[in-house]
């Protein structure tokens, strides 16, 4: 089953204060098979340590993108190669 597990690996990216709180800009993750949506992924990340719990403490304010496209928290993550988490944007 090693091959299938590798296929489920996803690159997580963190920006702005999400990145600062977690203490890293990116990492490779292999979420358990029952993690189906972006919201599931956030809930799972919160269990990975204090720094994640802090970053995602107000999870509704967290925005996400899958493969560089904005998605909502109920979006499925299956097939995603890159999932990014970040605060509301303040460009322009």
């Amino acid at each position: 089953m090693k091959v299938e597990e590798e296929e489920e690996e996803v690159k997580a990216l963190y920006f702005a204060w999400v990145r600062e709180r977690i203490g890293k800009a990116e990492e490779e993750l292999a979420p358990p098979p029952d993690i189906a949506t972006v919201g599931d992924m956030i809930a799972w990340l919160k269990t990975r340590g204090e720094e994640y719990a802090y970053a995602f403490e107000n999870s509704r304010s967290i925005r996400a993108a899958i493969d560089r496209t904005h998605v909502k928290h109920d979006s499925p993550i299956s097939g995603a190669r890159e999932i990014a988490f970040f605060p509301p944007m303040t460009g322009g």
């Binding site: 990216l13 920006f15 702005a16 204060w17 990145r19 993108a65 560089r68 496209t69 904005h70 990014a84 970040f86 605060p87 509301p88 944007m89 303040t90 460009g91 322009g92």
Partner: protein, 152 residues
């Protein structure tokens, strides 16, 4: 007649006049050019600089999607968007939006639409560095910026 949009995400300063000259070139069908420049304010002397973080790759892609939407909605003859990242000092420009059209209404509306969407959808985050040297923290998103989207 529409050219594809010119989109750049860069650390360097930009030259709005040169971008406008490139956009209109030798054309004689452009009746209106609107240039929007967003600049870094010093917030009453409080701010030393902004550090503008961005999501490389997605920034260009998202600006491209917003540009495509503008090109589909308004009869634009040209469109240029340049967004800076990295350290930005008060008085320096952050973002440039240039729209060209036969008539002014389309050029104005498209530029406003683009700025409204860039503010809320382009993956950039501003962090303030205060004049005294302390970190000023991340700039919060404004509800008025989200509200501005409802008019389009």
């Amino acid at each position: 007649m529409a050219r594809p949009a010119t989109i750049r995400v860069q650390r360097e300063l930009f030259d709005a006049a040169a971008e406008a000259a490139t956009l209109s070139g030798e054309r004689t069908d452009v009746g209106a050019i609107v240039t929007f420049i967003g600049l870094c304010r010093d917030e009453g002397g409080r701010l030393s600089r902004l550090n503008l973080e961005h999501y490389p790759g997605m920034a260009e892609a998202e600006i491209g999607r917003v540009a495509d939407e503008a090109l589909a909605r308004w009869p634009l003859l040209g469109l240029t968007i340049v967004h800076r990242h990295g350290p930005i000092r008060p008085g320096e420009p952050i973002v440039l939006v240039l729209t060209a059209s036969s008539h002014r209404a389309a050029a104005f509306e498209a530029a406003e639409f683009l700025m409204d969407y860039l503010k809320s959808n382009a993956p950039f985050w501003k962090k303030e560095v205060l004049a005294e040297g302390f970190e000023g923290g991340w700039v919060g998103a404004k509800e008025e910026d989200e509200d501005a989207l409802t008019r389009w």
